[in-house]
């Protein structure tokens, strides 16, 4: 067969591999882009996992049977975070596409509470709304830059507020007379707490009970992720673009800061029962356990099979559950040994790229053997010094090495190039 035909067939197989992995396989998976995963500890679904399937819906998945036991398709694009409410009968959802937070009943799928991050009027919304960022900003003494950010409904970068995290705060845990919801607004460089028990119809900007950060002031926060208020009243915040994690106390003073020049896009931080912190260092493809009382010493690293992880949680049965939104999969590690014990989903980025380089390596090896045999009568040294032989050998070596560190080659492309492209893509709505 002519070499040209063989090359055409190889190219066709590579193309088919990408088409199958990107267009067919995702439809067969139970998760398409998990941005968060949390074990459920109470209520009718206790023992299962709540998965924020970024590009699809909120799902409750049984990891033993790999079955979806509950899900909703509202909203369809793009949910960023979800948490079970106390009692386990409803779920609190952070919806980036619609810039809103809502609480949904698990039994009726009825929306029980809602808060919207966009300016609105009392007539438009039935819940505690008519938010006015300009009024709120002026009250706080924000400058024009800050006001222009919250007033720009069509920013070039991602969604309007890019609401990326929610947490329900029970008032009795913090000596408060009201419950509240903690919300992270990434594009505003702002974290707020909203009064959950406020009466419907009250002005929402008056119901922002606490905030940290100022839009556009990157010395405080720059694109924050996953703020969490712990039971001691302190809060950890992943200050992603500033490459650090901070903990602030109830007076908003920084208690500690974990800053490492090697951190790339930290997106989650969990306080572990032993007092250490589990930090998701997303663009370094790793989860690190850090001992802050030992000056930020890294005591554990989980990195096998990870590609741009979003969040990590240590469960009561000593498993570290990691969600990978870009790679459409969830990886479960054994906390003690660091071994991968379960994979849910299929990494739709890494796997087809790996198959591509594998095909290239196999094709080039075959071609190399063929060329080698064709040079009968010459010594091995002469053969290896022939350009047509060593150039093929070098390509085989490059392909094999690329497969070995593929996660890092791909994350390099993502971190410095493709992420920016993704961020500036037009969004629906």
């Amino acid at each position: 067969m002519k070499k040209g035909y063989v090359k055409g067939i190889v190219f066709g197989i590579v193309l088919l591999n990408w088409v199958i992995c990107l267009l067919v396989v995702p439809n067969l998976l139970i998760v398409q882009g998990p941005a968060g995963v949390d074990k459920i500890y109470e209520g009718p679904y206790a023992g299962n996992y709540l998965v924020t399937d970024g590009y699809g819906s909120i799902k409750i998945i049984n990891f033993t049977s790999n079955q979806i036991v509950w899900q909703t398709d509202e909203p369809k694009f793009f949910v960023h975070d979800s948490r079970m409410m106390p009692g386990g009968n409803s779920v609190l959802v952070g919806d980036s596409a619609a810039d809103r937070v809502f609480e949904m009943s698990l039994t009726t799928k009825e929306i029980l509470w809602e808060w919207r991050a966009k300016n609105s009027t009392k007539e438009q919304d039935s819940y505690c709304n008519y938010l006015n960022w300009t009024k709120f900003g002026l009250q706080q003494g924000w400058n024009e830059t800050a006001l222009s950010i919250v007033e720009n409904l069509r920013p070039t970068s991602g969604f309007y507020s890019h609401l990326n995290m929610v947490q329900f705060l029970k008032g009795s845990n913090y000596n408060r007379s009201y419950d509240s919801v903690l919300i992270s607004l990434r594009n505003f460089d702002l974290i707020i707490e909203v009064n959950y028990t406020a009466k419907i119809g009250e002005a929402a900007y008056m119901n922002i009970t606490w905030h940290y950060g100022t839009p556009g002031n990157h010395s405080i926060l720059f694109h924050p992720h996953s703020p969490k208020r712990w039971l001691n009243g302190h809060m950890t915040i992943c200050d992603s673009e500033n490459a650090r994690v901070i903990e602030i106390d109830e007076q908003d003073q920084i208690v500690w800061e974990y800053r490492d020049k090697a951190l790339r896009w930290v997106r989650d931080c969990e306080l572990l029962p032993n007092g250490n912190y589990l930090i998701t260092d997303a663009d370094n493809n790793r989860i690190i356990e850090v001992n802050m009382s030992a000056g930020g010493q890294i005591v554990r690293i989980f990195s096998s099979l990870l590609f741009n992880p979003y969040s990590a949680e240590l469960t009561d049965d000593n498993k570290v559950v990691v969600s990978i939104d870009l790679g459409a999969s969830i990886v479960v590690f054994d906390y003690e040994t660091g071994a991968v014990i379960q994979i849910i989903g299929f990494n739709i980025i890494v796997v087809p790229a790996m198959i591509t380089f594998l095909i290239v390596a196999i094709y080039q090896t075959t071609d190399l053997i063929y060329s080698w045999k064709k040079m009968k009568g010459t010594s091995s040294k002469q053969r290896i010094l022939t350009h047509s032989i060593y150039s093929k050998l070098i390509l085989v070596i490059i392909s094999v090495l690329t497969i070995l560190i593929l996660n890092y080659v791909l994350i390099f492309l993502w971190h410095y190039g493709l992420w920016h492209l993704f961020e500036t893509m037009p969004r629906p709505g």
Binding site: T156, A262, R264, N284, R286, H387, S391, I394, L395, I398, S399, L401, T402, I405, L406, Y408, V409, L410, I411, F412, L413, H415, Y416, G417, L418, W419, H420, L421, E423, T424
Partner: protein, 130 residues
């Protein structure tokens, strides 16, 4: 017997003969030499690309549509491909050993290998800098 001596040609025919000889003269530079120069460019620019992107963050400096893509990795990759296709040809052209067109054709032959090597080097330097 008719002798074909230069004095039997007109000036116009002589010029044509010189041009034809020049055209038919084989390139002294083999594909292999261009290949190795390209390998060096891929490795050096792979390392440079990582450090430029990591330390200057051009995507934060320029605010263009799809800014990060065009001013970050996209820009560096464009500089790389341009260097890959022109530098080896220029080096050998000025040494008088290759012509632009034939050199360019030789430079294109290992483009896939070179680009794979470039990103492999970028990924490797990224990995060791964690």
């Amino acid at each position: 017997m008719i002798s074909i001596e230069p004095e039997n040609f007109t000036q116009k025919e002589m010029d044509l003969k010189v041009r034809m000889e020049k055209k038919e003269k084989p390139d002294k530079i083999s594909e292999a030499k261009i290949y190795w120069v390209q390998i060096m460019i891929s490795v050096l620019l792979g390392i440079t690309t990582y450090y430029v992107l990591e330390h200057t963050r051009p995507s934060d400096v320029f605010d263009l549509p799809l800014g990060g893509f065009f001013t970050g990795l996209g820009l560096m990759a464009a500089i790389y491909v341009l260097s890959l296709l022109t530098l080896p040809i220029l080096i050998y052209h000025f040494k008088g050993k290759t012509r632009y067109y034939t050199g360019f054709r030789k430079a294109l032959k290992s483009l896939g290998t070179q680009i794979a090597l470039y990103f492999l080097v970028c990924g490797f330097v990224f990995m060791i800098n964690i």
